[in-house]
């Protein structure tokens, strides 16, 4: 199901090389380029590893940690750095530390807010479809939060920000095969959770119109 051959892989490699040169030449202006290139992916992952309300804090903290680490790197170290997976590894660790700290000081339960700055996939989407998509995102985000951390991270990296398996394995610190199995087990688990929650009211799409459907029993496959 997973296609590793991405269009733009070569393009991305050229961009990474160019970023490494920019960082080695002048750290601050190179880091401005790095932020410009990678802030969308960092933010997208952040809002699915933390509560979306905390996503900007988490993304900013991870970027600052990355900058501080780069200050200690010499040109040789920067020259061999795989920037995007390295950045996302820092983000993942920052999110895990934040989650651990939050577990020590219990706060309000997580609430998933739908993305508001979302670029419209369908330009003609009306208010009903937007509300529905927001509802779908909220539900999916909440279910994603119930997955084990490695599965959640793997799914977010693969299906939310569309990373190749090799990079995901690098971020998770495992073999490609293990990364793939995190993804497929995570999807399976998501599906089970979805089935479990369909005993309550859900919004479904039939022929492009929203319908409120109340199911009394569990759906069977």
């Amino acid at each position: 199901m997973v296609d590793d051959g991405h269009d733009g892989t070569a393009e991305a490699a050229v961009e990474e090389q160019w970023l490494r040169c920019a960082l080695a030449r002048d750290l601050d202006s190179g880091f401005a380029e790095l932020t410009r290139v990678h802030s969308d992916v960092v933010h997208s992952v952040a809002r699915n590893l933390a509560r979306p309300a905390d996503a900007e804090d988490l993304a900013a903290e991870a970027l600052l940690k990355a900058y501080r680490a780069l200050r200690g790197f010499d040109a040789a170290r920067i020259g061999t750095l795989s920037i995007r997976p390295w950045l996302l590894t820092i983000l993942r660790n920052t999110a895990r530390n934040a989650a651990r700290d939050a577990a020590r000081r219990p706060g309000p339960p997580p609430a998933f807010e739908p993305s508001t700055e979302q670029t419209e996939p369908e330009p003609a989407a009306g208010p009903a479809e937007r509300a529905e998509r927001a509802d779908t995102q909220r539900r999916l985000g909440a279910l994603l939060a119930e997955l084990p951390e490695a599965q959640r991270t793997a799914i977010v990296l693969r299906h939310v920000v569309d990373l190749p398996i090799g990079e995901i394995a690098e971020i998770l610190g495992c073999k490609d095969g293990t990364a793939k199995s995190h993804i497929s087990r995570g999807l399976q688990r998501l599906r089970t959770l979805l089935t479990d929650t369909t005993t309550t009211a859900t919004v479904t799409v039939v022929g492009g119109t929203a319908q409120r459907v109340l199911r009394s029993g569990r759906t069977s496959r």
Partner: protein, 257 residues
């Protein structure tokens, strides 16, 4: 019930729904990571000013070194990336010309509570007036930490904006300044502080001036003290002797708590 009737009925639907969870970074994200900087004219000549989305964080004279020297000093202290800015935040330019600027905000996030209290007390000293280090210590809530006040002010991240040049020694000398004592003296004279008068009083053992018409005693540079006519003016060396003579401390310059 067909699979179409369920949300995410197929893997394909589930995967494409997951794709909608991506969201571009908000424009404010870069502002939280990068500190902007620009140069500006001031009473000490050109200065470099670094500021975050919360306010001014660092200020140093351009004369101390070039832009690289400023960036090095900033990085050593804050370890954040710098980006050149086209313009300064509201209030910085008037504040650098010595005018009051209510719009001016400072980012003192990395400092300790004591450091922030010292800078906040120093910021309350009006232009044209001075206060001794002990006064700042007391106003900052640590009356015995007089030497510590000196150390905090020697590292003041935002001189001129937090007017540490208005904090002087109790004996009438202007004391140290991060840009040298002559600059401190010049700044105070530009603000119309009568340094010679203050020194003459200090030599005669006078650190407070009292008025027998109001029954109030002040620091000599207090606006109220400068209005006392010589016939009604009385000098004191200590707060307790002024109090014993029946005077109460001024509520503006607060020579005693």
């Amino acid at each position: 019930m067909t699979s179409n009737g369920r949300p995410f009925g197929t893997d394909q639907q589930l995967v494409s729904a997951l794709g909608t969870l991506a969201a571009p970074a908000p424009p404010g994200l870069a502002d939280r990571v990068f500190t902007r900087w620009a140069s500006a004219p001031s009473r000490l000549g050109d200065v470099f000013v670094a500021f975050t989305d919360r306010g001014v964080q660092f200020l140093r004279p351009a004369g101390e070194g070039d832009a690289d020297g400023f960036a090095d000093a900033y990085h050593r202290r804050f370890a954040r990336p710098l980006q050149p800015a086209a313009r300064l935040p509201a209030g910085v330019l008037p504040a650098l010309r010595g005018r009051q600027a209510r719009a001016l905000t400072l980012d003192l996030a990395g400092l300790s509570e004591f450091e922030r209290a010292v800078l906040a007390a120093t910021r309350r000293i009006p232009a044209g007036q001075t206060r001794p280090y002990g006064w700042v210590a007391r106003e900052a809530g640590s009356p015995r930490a007089v030497r510590a006040v000196g150390s905090v002010l020697a590292r003041n991240p935002v001189p001129l904006l937090v007017p540490c040049h208005r904090v002087v020694r109790a004996d009438g000398a202007v004391g140290d300044y991060m840009f040298g004592a002559p600059s401190k003296e010049q700044l105070l004279r530009d603000e119309d502080v009568d340094l010679d008068g203050v020194r003459a009083l200090a030599r005669g053992g006078v650190r407070y001036l009292a008025s027998d018409t109001t029954g109030i005693f002040c620091f000599p540079t207090c606006r109220d003290a400068r209005r006392i006519t010589p016939a009604h003016r009385h000098g004191f060396r200590t707060v307790s002797t002024a109090a014993a003579a029946g005077y109460r401390p001024c509520l503006h310059c607060r020579p005693a708590a």
